[in-house]
Amino acid sequence: MRAELSKLASLWSVWLASAVAVLAPSGIALLNRGVPGPDRGYQELAFGVMGVIILGVVAVSSEYFTEGAESGGGRQITTSLTAVPSRLRFLAAKAAAVALVAALLAVVAATATMSFAAGSSWEPARLAGVVCYWTYTALLAFGVTVLTRHGVVPLVVLLVNTSLVSVTYLLSRFFAVAGYFPDLAGARMFVEPNDTKVEMAPIVGFLVMSGWVAALLAIAAVVFTRRDA
């Protein structure tokens, strides 16, 4: 776990992810100062998960990044698994490190964003929802990347979905069941969409997203322990 934290701390892309995580929501909140609203601050924080998506993806993809042929074509995962041969232990330590960093970033980002946002209300339950949502989102990005062993596809898909065009949101406009996608359900922990087909209490949103995270991490663990490194 300490080794995994020190791995994260020594990757520049993790620092980039942290900067995005803190600056994106607080920056937007700053720009939106003139337009107060009930969800001011929380909306920005829903958008700010991009930072922890990058974190979850690069924590795994950095292990599989292949050096150029001229430097021998090695991958860090071989070093990792010869230092920690138990794959479950390795994966658990890595997931824990990602979750811890994501939660910390969420706390910092939420504090900054809420103090900038106009007319924001500090509601402990909703803010806890933000921290939970960020942590879970990082773990989902982590789990998907364990399965793909490559960062580009999950990074692009997940980032586009949270920023430019939310595919899951569009689907939910047509199919009520799409409201149970982890991103939409999880966001219920702190924002209430006004045009939704499914009514969902924050606690239900929490349970649905927890289910997604548990299932994805279980699949990732099974695949990771069985396949060749």
């Binding site: 020190s6 010869t82 041969p85």
Partner: protein, 243 residues
């Protein structure tokens, strides 16, 4: 390097038996078995694609075999109580992420293995990278990357060293360094197992030879036994693998 008092307790026998590995329909290993003993440098030789890397990756628990066993002191690598102090591995490239410095790489490995961080500068010194520790791995030459991989393997001062093609792509100075280094390890009672497809480079380094071709062991024994009546190891090798 060799701490006083531990020479007597060193073991580190590698026992590989009946390994079978298939990828899709292709059988990569067909019952590979051999032994590597402490105090000897064992050369695992074969042409490219013969199954050397697969065998070593199975030994290190990175790949799974369909049948057979690969044990270190009687247990699989993943079951070793203290893996980093028992086995050091040098596989492809540097095994480090290019955006980290060499020192940062060694520090996380030391943490993962429960080793004191003071080992980091010791191994950097040992492989001649003391001045490059603060440089990013992406800026290393191939030879420096290989030295970093060797430094990583040596962090736990292990009784067994496993190296896949350690001299591949190195300049003459690098080759000489690796050779001398491995001979010293064996002299200190450690087990050294290295694979290579470069026969000529190895004859002066190895004590024992295992030859693999198309996933089968075609010869094994001491250097003299395998060379036999041939002029040198290279001749013997080509006679063996062209059958």
């Amino acid at each position: 390097m060799c701490r006083p008092g531990d020479a007597g307790s060193l073991s580190g026998v590698i026992t590989i038996d009946g390994l079978v590995k298939r990828r899709g329909a292709k059988e990569i290993l067909s019952g590979v078995g051999f032994e590597a003993r402490p105090g000897r440098v064992t050369g695992f030789l074969g042409p490219n694609g013969a199954g050397k890397s697969s065998t070593l990756r199975i030994l290190l628990g990175l790949d799974r075999a369909q049948a057979g066993t690969a044990l270190i002191d009687g247990v699989p690598f993943a079951a070793l109580p203290d893996p980093v102090r028992t086995v050091g591995a040098v596989l492809d490239g540097s095994g480090a992420h290019r955006s980290r410095t060499g020192r940062a790489h060694l520090r996380w490995v030391a943490r993962a293995g429960g080793l004191p961080l003071s080992r980091v500068d010791e191994v950097l010194e040992l492989v001649g990278l003391a001045d490059a520790g603060a440089k990013r791995v992406g800026g290393y030459s191939l030879g420096m990357g290989r030295r970093l991989a060797l430094a990583t393997a040596l962090l736990g001062d292990p009784s067994v060293l496993v190296l896949d093609e350690p001299i591949n792509g190195l300049d003459p100075e690098g080759i000489r360094f690796v050779r001398t280094f491995l001979r010293e390890r064996a002299r200190a009672g450690r087990t050294v197992l290295l694979s290579s497809h470069l026969m000529g480079e190895l004859a002066e380094t190895v004590d024992d030879v295992v030859v693999i071709d198309h996933g089968r062991i075609v010869a094994q024994g001491s250097l003299a036994e395998v060379t036999g009546a041939h002029r040198n190891l290279e001749e013997a090798f080509f006679a063996l693998v062209s059958r």
